[in-house]
Amino acid sequence: MAGSIKDRVAILGMGCTRFGERWDASAADLIVEAAYQAFEDAGIGPDEIQAAWVGTSTGNTGMTISEPLRLQYIPVTRVENACATASDAFRNACYAVAAGIYDIVLVVGVDKFKDAGISGLGDGGTPGPSHSMIPETTPPRSFAMLATTYFAKYGLTFEEGKHMIGRVSWKSHQNGMRNKNAHFQGNVTMEQILNAPMVSWPLGLFDCCGVSDGAAAAIVTTPEIALARKKDPVFVKALQIAMAPRDGNFNQQYDFLHVEATVRAAEKAYQEAGIKNPREEISMAEVHDCFSITEAVTMEDLRFSPRGKVRDDIESGFFDLDGKLPVQTDGGLKCFGHPIGASGLRMIYEVYLQLQGRADELLNPGFPSRQLPNPKLGLTHNLGGAPDGCAIFVGIFGLKGV
C-alpha cells in the first residue's frame, strides 16, 4: 500500500438524527437536523466548510444537501455504494483532507424511505437499465442463504441455528432499549424472536432490520485543527473498501458461509491500523447487521471469533454490552434503524461517542448507562449488496496515540 490514513485526519464534530419512521420529517429536514448538530458539536458554522460529500441511495447530485443547507457554491459530491454509501462518502472526504486540498469538510448521509408506501426495500436490484430477464430478489432471501448453509455446514438443528441468530437480535434489542434515538426501543424477548413469522426462511421478522428514515453528519479536519479546537478528538486509523466481483452466485468455490469482501477489507484495515489480534485489540464494533445471520458471519470474517465458532461467543454473551467485545452498542441496524445512505455515519457516530465517553448523551431516561468503560479502538463495517457479491467498508477509529 502506498499510503495509510492512520492519524492523518480527525473528526471535529458529528450529528445524527433519531432514526425511524419519521412521518414528521422530509429528507431535507433530516439533513438540516444532522448537519447543524455536527456544526454545534464542532463549534463551527457552515461558512467554514470548504467542501462536502453526501451519501444517499435515493437523492441525486450534491444539491441533495446544498439546497436544504444553502451551501454557497462549494464543491459537493454525491456518493452511492449501497449500504456502504455513507462510509464511502466519509472515506472520500477524509482523503481530500489528507491530500491537503481542504482543511474542514462536511459529510452527510441521508435516506428517506418511509414515503414509499412499502415495507422493506423493493427488489434491491442494481439501479439502472435492466433487461428484466432474471428474477428480482429481496434482501432477506439473499441473506437467508447464509443461514441455510451455515446451519447445514456446522450441523446445527433448526432450533439451535434459530437460537444462535435470535440471540444476536436479542442482544441488539437490549442495547437499543437504552438508546433514545433508536428506531426500535422495545424490550423484545427471546420467545418473541423465536416465534415471530417467517420473512424468508429461516429468517424470521426479528432476524431482519427495519428500513428507516434518518440522517447523520460528520465534520472532518486535519489533526492540527482538531487538537487545537477539541480536547479529545477521534482519529481515523483505517478506511478500507473492498468491492466483490459478484461471482458468489456463479462460482462453485464460494461457500455461502462467509463474505469474502469483509475478510479482504478487514485484513487491509488491520494492516493500516497496525492491529494484529482484533479479538483482543478492538474495544467495540458497529457492524452491518442487516440480518442476524449477517452479524454472526461477520464476527468470523473480522476474526473476532474463530471460523465456525461464533455460536459459542454469541451464546456466552461475548458481544453483549457487558461482554469482552461489545457489538452494536447503539442497537445496530436491527434497532437503531437503517436509512441506507446514513447508516455508515451512524456507526461512526456511536464509536465517536463511546470513545469520547459521551454515550449517555443518548441514554433513554431510567435505563442503566450504555457507556463502555474506557474503549480505545472502535471498528465499523458496512455491507452493501448481498453475500454473493457486495461492497464492504471497514473503518477503525481511535483516540490520539492509540
Binding site: 422493506g120 433487461h131 430477464m133 430478489t137 447445514a152 424468508s200 426462511w201 429461516p202
Partner: protein, 478 residues
C-alpha cells in the same frame, strides 16, 4: 417412409381432484382429477417441457422447424413457436410456425410437418402441442379441462412410427369457441355438439380412411381418440367399431381434456406400450376431424429414457385448494401486492441476449475450463472469466440440460408473488458452474442443502403485455 422419430410429453405437477371443485360449488364433482399448470406455466412453457422430453439424447441443432399447436398462445401477435425453438436451442435457420385456434391444431401440425419432411424441404420437424384452456368458474368445462403437452419429432431417418395414411374431414360445426377477447371457452348446447359433431364427424373421417386403405377396425392395435369425457369417449369408440381393449387411455380422468394437445398426448401414451408392427389410429376432433394411420417399426425400441405420459402421471402432487387454483389462473381479484411492481421487460435487451438467456447458455473458459453463467440485472453475457480472468476466450456452454445440487436456499414470504412463498436456490451444476434460480414444483418442507434439481423453462413475469420467460429449477423426481 417418413414418420415419428421421437416423442415426449409433459403433464404439470399439480392435480386438482374433481371432488375439490365439486365441494367448492356444492355440486358433485365427479370422479378423477385434472392436471393444473402452475402459475408460471403456459402453452409455451409446457411445449418446451414436452419438447425437452422428446429431444432427450438428440441434438437440437438437427431440428429444421418447430411447429407449435395450441389454442392458448400467450400472444395474439408474436410467433410463439420461435420462443419454444429458442428455448430448445433449435437453430435460427429453422422454419417455425404456430398452428392455432383449433382443437385439431396438433394433428394438423403433424400432417403439415410430415408433408414438409416427405417433400424434402425440411429434414426434421418438432411438433409440440400444449393447451391450458380455461372455463369460467363453476361451469361444466371447469371439471373436464386439464393442462398438458406432447411433442413428436418427424423425420425420415430412424423412423419409429411410420405415418402410412391420413384423412381430413373439415366441418365448420362450431360447438366450442372463444372470440378474440374471450378468456373463457364458450359452448353451444352440449347435446348439439355431441350428437351432430363429436359422435358423427370423426366417425366419417375414420370410415373414409379405412375405405382409402382397405383396413378395418380389427387391423388396429390401438385407437387414440380425442375426447371430452370418459363416457362419451367410450360411446364414440364403440360407434367406430372398436373393442374396449383396442382403445388407448384418453387420460380424461387423470389429466383432463387438454384440447389441441390431447390427441398427441394419447398417442405418446400408446407409443410407450407399442410393439413393432402395431398399427395405431390417431383421431382428432374440432371443426372437423383428422384421422391418421401409423405403423410402429423396430426403431421404437431405441426410444428410451422419456418421461412421456407414464412417468409424468406418477410425478404429481394433489392440489387440495380450489383457492390456489383460482389464484394461479388469475380468476379472482387479489388484494394489491405490498411490493413495488416488477420492472417492464425490455424487448431490445431480450433480443440482444436471446442466444444466452433463453436457451440458458453460459460459457466455458478456453483457458481454465471453468463453466460459468453470467446473470446480472443488466446483462447475461460474460466477458471476463470468473476464475482465471481471461477476456472473451470462451466457448458456449449450455446449462438448461444439466442437473444440479442445491447449495443453499430460502423460502421468501416477503416477495409475495402469485404462489408464496417464493423459493430461491443456489445450485451447483454437475460438471461445474453455479446459478441462483427460483425453485418450483417443490414442497417447502422437502427442500434441503444437497437436494437434486433440474432446469425448467417458466414464465417469470408479465408486464406491459409482454411475457418474460426464464429458467427455474425443480426437484428431480425420477
Amino acid at each position: 417412409m417418413a414418420g415419428i422419430v421421437s416423442y415426449g410429453a409433459y403433464i404439470p405437477y399439480y392435480r386438482l381432484p374433481r371432488s375439490v371443485i365439486g365441494q367448492m360449488w356444492g355440486q358433485p364433482g365427479g370422479k378423477g382429477e385434472k392436471a393444473v399448470a402452475g402459475s408460471d406455466e403456459d402453452a409455451v412453457t409446457m411445449a418446451v417441457a414436452a419438447g425437452l422430453d422428446c429431444l432427450k439424447g438428440l441434438d437440437p441443432k438437427t431440428v429444421d422447424g418447430v411447429f407449435l399447436a395450441t389454442t392458448c398462445a400467450p400472444y395474439k401477435e408474436r410467433q410463439c413457436a420461435n420462443i419454444v425453438a429458442n428455448a430448445l436451442d433449435v437453430p435460427r435457420s429453422a422454419r417455425n410456425a404456430d398452428f392455432a385456434n383449433c382443437l385439431r391444431a396438433g394433428t394438423t401440425a403433424v400432417l403439415s410437418a410430415l408433408d414438409a419432411v416427405k417433400a424434402g424441404s425440411l429434414g426434421q420437424v418438432l411438433v409440440a402441442a400444449a393447451d391450458t384452456r380455461l372455463s369460467g368458474a363453476a361451469g361444466g368445462d371447469e371439471l373436464t379441462f386439464g393442462d398438458g403437452g406432447a411433442a413428436v419429432l418427424l423425420g425420415k431417418d430412424k423412423v419409429a412410427v411410420e405415418i402410412e395414411a391420413s384423412y381430413t374431414f373439415s366441418d365448420d360445426l362450431c360447438d366450442y369457441w372463444r372470440d378474440a377477447d374471450d378468456k373463457f371457452v364458450r359452448h353451444w348446447e352440449d347435446r348439439f355438439g355431441r350428437e351432430e359433431g363429436y359422435l358423427k364427424i370423426p366417425v366419417e373421417a375414420v370410415k373414409a380412411l379405412f375405405q382409402k386403405t382397405g383396413l378395418t377396425p380389427a387391423d388396429i392395435s390401438k385407437v387414440c381418440l380425442y375426447g371430452q369425457n370418459t363416457r362419451v369417449h367410450a360411446t364414440l369408440a364403440k360407434k367406430m367399431g372398436f373393442k374396449p381393449e383396442q382403445v388407448q387411455n384418453p387420460l380424461l380422468d387423470q389429466v383432463g381434456d387438454t384440447g389441441a394437445a390431447l390427441p398427441l398426448m394419447i398417442l405418446v401414451g400408446a407409443l410407450e406400450e407399442a410393439k413393432p408392427g402395431d398399427r395405431i389410429l390417431l383421431v382428432s376432433y374440432g371443426n372437423g376431424s383428422d384421422a391418421v394411420l401409423l405403423r410402429v417399426t423396430e426403431e421404437i425400441k431405441n426410444i428410451t429414457g422419456r418421461r412421456g405420459i407414464k412417468k409424468h402421471l406418477e410425478i404429481k402432487k394433489t392440489l387440495n385448494s380450489y383457492g390456489r387454483y383460482l389464484r394461479w389462473r388469475e380468476m379472482v381479484a387479489l388484494a394489491p401486492p405490498a411490493r413495488p411492481p416488477a420492472g417492464a421487460a425490455s424487448m431490445s435487451a431480450q433480443w440482444r441476449e436471446h442466444e444466452t438467456a433463453i436457451p440458458l447458455y453460459g460459457v466455458k473458459c478456453r483457458k481454465c475450463g471453468t463453466p460459468q453463467l453470467f446473470l446480472s440485472q443488466s446483462s447475461t453475457r460474460a466477458h471476463i472469466c470468473l476464475q482465471c480472468r481471461a477476456k472473451d476466450d470462451f466457448e458456449p456452454y449450455r446449462f438448461a440440460d444439466k442437473l444440479g445440487t442445491v447449495r443453499s436456499f430460502s423460502h421468501d414470504y416477503l416477495a409475495g408473488g402469485i404462489d408464496p412463498p417464493t423459493t430461491a436456490a443456489v445450485i451447483d451444476f454437475d460438471g461445474g458452474g453455479r446459478g441462483q434460480f427460483l425453485m418450483v414444483d417443490r414442497d417447502p418442507e422437502e427442500c434441503q442443502v444437497g437436494m437434486r434439481v433440474e432446469m425448467t423453462f417458466r414464465k417469470l413475469r408479465h408486464t406491459l403485455g409482454a411475457h418474460t420467460y426464464f429458467w427455474k429449477c425443480k426437484p428431480v423426481r425420477d
